[in-house]
Assembly symmetry: C2
Homo-oligomer: 312 residues x 2
């Protein structure tokens, strides 16, 4: 069983969608990644920071899902990172209503001693310098996966490029890939990103699925067509958690197996959006995941016998 | 070998994309459908209308591809339908610069005697009353496929609903499906459209692929990720031609086989957009199509062994 080290936010979110709104609920990239990865047989730990206002029940939720929390610093008298956002009617776009960095502003990540030899490191969305600091504390991981967002392209591009140059896999959404490379074609964008460092590029297209690029090979996983997306928050992180969790469990980081990891990530993300926040991921049974994988198979698998050359 | 009857425009197009522009070139829905279907062993005919200005070489092109043209009326002294459009930089949207209906304004379709027993009828994009007239002239086809567009929803909705109620399959793009049903979710939109008549609903999402719906089953075919889309004109018609051409050749209209038809349609459309107008389809060799099908297979096929229930 591989060790999976996760760095990212553990936070409070307040979310408004066309279907309702929440008060402060559990959120954060590392939370979603950890819960998603906990569907697999892995030894995982989160490196993050919270304030004294962070309830014990949330910590217990992580622990009960087999996630090591000794790397989550609790700042005495500090307040937990808070994000509030409102989704537009199409659920593809959102406005940030409020961001309170709080304890995140001075976060110095410390990797627990017994996770310094983690085989897989998942750098969730955070300041690139924090991601770099985690990388400096680990010993030769087999696979480093980076998630990031346009905010860091706008505000810390040079630092971001430095961390991009050091990772094996990057997950990024389509618009961010275009912004990073100034290429409209995702094929060209992925090629340019590979030249920046990562050997594998995952481009997430939301309801339009995800593409995995490696040299001249491409794999595509659709998103499951859903009657209703309830709350997209955390879908990308849940994808990343499924991707890395599956790779850690299977101990196989070949391109062929990454295809499966992309399918697992997509399946898990399709659950995440069914309810507010982490609610659906908290209740998710492994058996439900297995059935959904079968839906993915019937959604995409076909059996064409290549036809004989036509004769007119 | 099944007979495939195609009704649609045979026309002149003048196209401008970010990569260049053309003078009047061969275009029209039926042209693209016919050329695409000619990749298969089918006996096909086009029902359409052109003016006296339509060059013999274009007629020869259709004939040389095995398409029966006796149903293409040539109006003495008339001018051929002309459309001119300019694509925006993202190639997903376009402005119509000019539309000259010409001989299309008074088109009365006449189905040739030996195609009245066609097993498959492809109603290409045209006024719904013209599509209905063709349907009234054929004897119990096994499968009727309808393509249409938002223009008819805006201008002839009641006629369009009548033809929709009489077909087996509809192909429609995502925005049009939403407009027709007032549903944002494509799953819900497809369900509503099935209630209007068609047993099968194909929703085309351009660069994001195509979905095939039938009762509670869904199949998804991605679009091939291309480095560059050169000219999207005719891609939807080429898809329809591949879809119906393959079904006609295989003489199997089951849902399982329609999955393959969607893959063939998507493969053919991926060629169409590589050059201006019909150029790429005119030069396409069957062997090239076979290689691209293999690309589609490696793009989407995965092999997940469902994992044992986790034990923590």
């Amino acid at each position: 069983m591989s060790k999976l080290l996760i760095v990212g936010t553990v936070a409070f979110d307040a979310i408004e969608t066309p279907f309702g709104k929440t008060d402060k609920i559990l959120g954060g990239a590392a939370t979603y990644i950890g819960l998603s990865a906990s569907q697999f047989n892995v030894k995982s730990a989160i490196v993050s920071v919270v304030g004294e206002d962070f309830p014990q029940e949330h910590m217990d939720l992580l622990t009960n899902n087999g996630i090591d929390i000794q790397g989550i610093e609790v700042v005495k008298g500090g307040k937990t990172f808070f994000w509030s956002g409102k989704y537009h009617n199409d659920l593809n776009t959102r406005d940030t209503l409020d961001t309170q960095l709080n304890v995140l502003a001075d976060f110095n990540p410390v990797v627990p001693e017994d996770f310094k030899d983690s085989e897989i490191v998942m750098l969730g969305n955070l300041h690139p310098l924090v991601q770099l600091s985690v990388l400096e504390q680990v010993n030769n991981p087999k696979l480093v996966v980076l998630d990031t967002m346009n905010f860091w392209m706008d505000n810390a591009l040079e630092d971001l490029k430095k961390v991009i140059s050091k990772v094996d896999v990057i997950t990024i959404n389509d618009e961010e890939a275009r912004q990073l490379t100034d290429e409209h074609s995702l094929v060209r964008a992925a090629r340019k990103i590979e030249k920046m460092g990562p050997k594998y590029v995952v481009i997430k297209k939301g309801e339009h699925g995800a593409l995995l690029f490696h040299k001249d090979q491409i794999f595509f996983a659709p998103a499951l067509p859903l009657e209703e997306v309830f709350d997209p928050t955390g879908a990308g992180d849940t994808f990343a958690g499924g991707f890395t969790g599956y790779l850690a469990q299977s101990e196989d980081i070949s391109f062929e197996n990454m295809k499966n990891a992309v399918i697992y990530g997509s399946s898990l993300a399709s659950f995440c959006v069914e309810k507010f926040g982490t609610e659906r991921m908290e209740s998710l049974k492994h058996q439900e995941l297995e059935s959904r994988l079968q839906e993915f198979q019937s959604l995409t698998q076909f059996d064409i016998e290549l036809t004989p050359t036509k004769t007119l």
